[in-house]
């Protein structure tokens, strides 16, 4: 697709969508949002970019193969699950929290890191599937 409007638009929309996806991820604990939808939105941003600039440029923009994000995300989620076991000796997946809320983000605790893991996995999975299929097409 060789449209100047789409190319120009995609260039600006991608960072916006990425910021939006992080926003969704962070606010998920208080208001609608979360890692799952955040990851999807981020993936949509890259897919849009892919339509405008083609697969190779999108790959170059990402630097790493999105498939690598899956194990990273999974390990992050798993680590956040194990953090109470290591830190306080409580059972697996007990949530632990910092005492004081951080401005803008809110209270930070192990579930946030878990959600980040979900974000990365969803993002990685969507892009892996889409990239693979569009490459074959």
């Amino acid at each position: 697709m060789n449209s100047l409007i789409l190319r120009t638009g995609a260039k600006y929309i991608l960072p916006l969508l990425l910021i939006f996806s992080v926003f969704l991820l962070l606010r998920g604990h208080y208001l609608p949002g979360g890692g799952f939808v955040g990851g999807l939105v981020a993936a949509v941003g890259f897919v849009l970019y892919m339509f405008a600039f083609g697969l190779d440029e999108t790959r170059a923009l990402l630097h790493i193969h999105p498939g690598y994000l899956m194990p990273i995300g999974l390990s992050l989620a798993l680590l956040s699950g194990f953090s109470p076991v290591i830190l306080t000796g409580e059972p697996f997946m007990t949530s632990i929290w910092f005492e004081n809320p951080v401005p803008v983000i809110g209270t930070i605790g192990s579930p946030l890191f878990f959600d980040m893991g979900v974000y990365l996995v969803v993002f990685g999975v969507s892009l892996t599937i889409l990239f693979t299929i569009s490459e074959e097409a």
Partner: protein, 768 residues
């Protein structure tokens, strides 16, 4: 003690990075693990043996399910732990010479270490669940050990057979564990014993026995499950040594001994064990006559020895339990010796065919000494430990509650045949005239003969000083009988009836050895009745089961997604429709329904329109686009009814789905009428039926009384416990975070699946 048990697993993990260094010239260093453990367990001898205490070490594992790693070191556990680590140490040393230069020696040590650790855990654990876990671990590890020569098809098959048989036992053990746990209210053997529950009066007693016997008989190779053991001879000799003498097959015996205070004492228990054990010991002993492979002879003699043990546990008197535990010691010592010798012969001359080997004493002096010691202990010739063991067996059979003379006769016949087997393996290869040239023989290195001589000498030492064995065995017997019991084991009891029986055994055995010659011909004769052997029948079962599953799979796997969906839908409609039809619960109260707003009306209209377009359009792109419209309309409905999270996710998903479809579009053939009218009508009817069914189910759900307990729980605690206000997200990442964890794992797996399916480039040779 936890570290002691887990040390083997730790060692195996350490071997992953350091294996390259630990498989070369310093491979012998691996033996430090079992030697260290052996010394560690020896340090408990004063406490457990001398003062009769029980050492406990408790570790919480899953306290909420009552599953803990409680290790109990009583007399019985100690004997097993010493055998496992002691013989383990010799096997580790022996391996470094036996598999010298093997490319996967590090892997082998890893398996062996984990196997040892699982065995240790099994004999030390007090909790039935943890015993079960270790039990299964031994099965898995022995699978890897038996199949170590994975390039050889026979090895792979043998490993699978043993895995299959012992796996079956594992399932039965699981069933037994659950039954005992739910009847007794605890998984801890100690607590079950002190709760004084009489299992033998419970209506499920027979079932429990069925399960536990199934577990023990498969593991300990009792007839008719014995056949995996001779098959397991495909493994390298150190594995066979370890599996036969101190570990694996003794696990079933250990389980029976451990359980006998809990479940024993009933005629059902005693008679079953006596019959199965008796059949096995005779069966195994007779089979040794017809084998020519050194290891094959030993395998059948192990089966026979295990039969003796089960038989003795079945008799169940004080004397029998004493004899059983002492015989475990005896058997471990002489069987380890003989196996190590057999492996040494194999290494030296390259064959294990007993008809081909003779007169090796000329070149393999230390090995022949070890073989001689092993054969003596096996035969029960004084002053070896075997003599003491045989005495105790005759003593217990003679004084058995009933049919003492028959039992004694059976054990005499078995012992005669076992003596023959031991002589064939331990003495025959070294004596008589040699037919070998010196150049054929490879001299045995130190680490091959030394372990064999060492353990063989132990057999003599234990025989000359009976008090050694007696003090080891006493606390174990007391642990099983639950009261203190002091046996009197002596080398010389005077001229008694038992001495006469011993003399008869040894005399007849000698003459059998000198008259009977193992030969290929006899082996072939016995092979003729293989068609009724359990092994053959099992193979038949496996093959026919495989055929059945192939037919079954073909029936449902057409290879077309549309037929899969068709089958799934028909099944759901059938089963749910039947349930609804059977008990209709639908009722609608129109007055409680809200008015329909214009927005909702509009959205629904859009949905209907897009469905019609999707179904009847002749362009694929249009169909996909209108499906996307349908999805978005759904999201709007979610927004109306207060599910913004769902709506948002659904929006993103629908967008991606449409994109995905468009990407796939390039690869599909042009939109043609691929299905005829008949199948379109069929699909239409099916989808309408499914829609109607879902509608009815929704109505049925509304008709049920609605409990808000769960909702209010999450709503109340989302902020106080999880610091979040968005209940949906809190449930996803916190309350039910484990589910999410599994879900994202599934997601990742499916992505890998897509990637590998599309990237897969088959070589010409691989295309079916």
């Amino acid at each position: 003690m936890l570290i002691a048990v887990l040390l083997g697993f730790i060692h195996a993990c350490v071997l992953i990075p350091t294996g390259r260094f630990l498989k070369g010239k310093i491979a012998v260093l691996n033996a430090a693990i079992p030697i260290g453990l052996f010394i560690y367990f020896c340090s408990f001898i004063p406490e457990v043996v001398t003062s009769g205490n029980v050492v406990r070490a408790n570790f919480q594992w899953i306290p909420s399910f009552g599953v803990n790693l409680n290790f109990t070191l009583d007399g019985l556990s100690l004997i097993f732990a010493l055998l496992i680590t002691g013989i383990g140490a010799l096997v580790f040393l022996y391996t470094s010479a036996y598999l010298k230069g093997n490319a996967h020696l590090d892997r082998f040590y890893g398996y062996l270490s984990m196997f040892m650790a699982s065995m240790l855990g099994l004999v030390l654990a007090d909790n039935l669940i943890s015993i079960l876990v270790f039990w299964e671990l031994t099965s898995i590890m022995s699978f890897f050990l038996i199949g170590f020569k994975n390039y050889d098809e026979g090895s792979r098959r043998a490993a699978l057979t043993s895995m299959g048989i012992t796996g079956l036992g594992g399932v039965l053990f699981l069933a037994c564990t659950i039954l005992i746990g739910s009847i007794g209210g605890s998984y801890s053997i100690q607590e079950l014993l002190s709760s004084q529950i009489l299992f033998s009066e419970h209506p499920y007693y027979a079932l429990i026995l069925f399960f536990i016997f199934g577990a023990a008989f498969t593991k300990s190779a009792q007839f008719p499950f014995h056949f995996w053991l001779p098959g397991a001879m495909k493994a390298p000799t150190p594995v066979s040594t370890y599996l036969h003498s101190a570990t694996m097959v003794k696990a079933g015996i250990y389980l029976l001994l451990r359980m006998s205070p809990l479940l024993g004492g009933d005629p059902l228990w005693n008679n079953t064990l006596m019959i199965v054990g008796g059949v096995t010991m005779l069966f195994g002993a007779f089979h040794t006559l017809f084998r020519t492979d050194l290891k094959g002879i030993l395998a059948y003699s192990t089966i026979s020895a295990l039969g003796i043990l089960v038989f003795l546990i079945g008799i169940g008197t004080e004397a029998a339990i004493l004899a059983a535990i002492f015989f475990i010691l005896v058997h471990a010592i002489y069987k380890a010796t003989l196996f190590l010798v057999a492996g040494g012969i194999d290494l030296a001359i390259g064959t294990r065919d007993v008809t081909q080997i003779s007169g090796l004493r000329k070149w393999l002096i230390p090995l022949s000494i070890a073989g001689f010691l092993g054969a003596l202990a096996n035969a029960g010739i004084p002053p070896t430990i075997g003599f003491l063991g045989k005495d105790l067996i005759y003593e217990s059979t003679l004084h058995a509650p009933n049919a003492g003379s028959i039992l004694t006769a059976l054990s005499i016949v078995t012992n005669i045949l076992l003596l023959y087997a031991g002589f064939v393996v331990g003495i025959k290869p070294f004596f008589r005239k040699t037919s070998h040239e010196e150049t054929e023989i490879r001299k045995s290195p130190f680490l091959i003969w030394a372990p064999a001589v060492l353990i063989g000498a132990a057999g003599i030492i234990f025989g000359i000083f009976p008090s050694l064995g007696q003090s080891l065995v006493t606390p174990a017997v007391s642990a099983i009988l639950e009261h203190s019991y002091t046996p009197n084991i002596q080398l010389w009891h005077g001229f008694t009836f038992i001495l006469l029986l011993s003399a008869i055994t040894i005399g007849t055995g000698f003459s059998l050895y000198f008259i009977f010659r193992p030969s290929r011909k006899k082996e072939e004769t016995i092979a003729k009745i293989d068609f009724i052997a359990p092994k053959f029948l099992t193979d038949l079962f496996v093959v026919s089961f495989g055929r059945l599953s192939k037919i079954w799979t073909r029936l449902f796997n057409s290879g077309f997604v549309r037929y899969y969906i068709l089958i799934v839908l028909i099944f759901i409609i059938g089963i749910l429709g039947f349930k609804l039809f059977e008990k209709p619960v639908i009722y609608m109260d129109l007055s409680t329904l809200k008015d329909v707003s214009t927005f909702e009306m509009g959205t629904i209209l859009i949905m209907i329109l897009s469905i019609i377009i999707t179904v009847f359009t002749s362009s694929r792109l249009t169909a996909i686009a209108s499906l996307g419209v349908l999805g978005y309309a759904f999201c709007i409905i979610f927004v109306f009814y207060g599910a913004p999270d769902l709506a948002m996710t659904q929006f993103a998903i629908d967008t991606l789905t449409v994109i995905l479809f468009v990407l796939v579009l390039y690869r599909l053939p042009k939109y043609l009428m691929l299905s005829d009218t008949r199948s379109r009508i069929r699909d239409g009817i099916l989808s309408i039926a499914f829609g109607v069914l879902i509608t009815f189910i929704c109505l049925a759900v509304l008709a049920e009384p609605f409990s808000r307990e769960v909702t209010s729980y999450y709503a109340n605690y989302a902020y106080t416990l999880a610091h979040g206000k968005n209940v949906v997200n809190v449930i996803l990442v916190d309350f039910r975070g484990m589910d999410t964890m599994v879900e994202i794992t599934v997601l990742a797996i499916s992505a890998i699946g897509v990637y590998s399916l599309l990237k897969l480039q088959m070589k010409k040779s691989e295309v079916d």
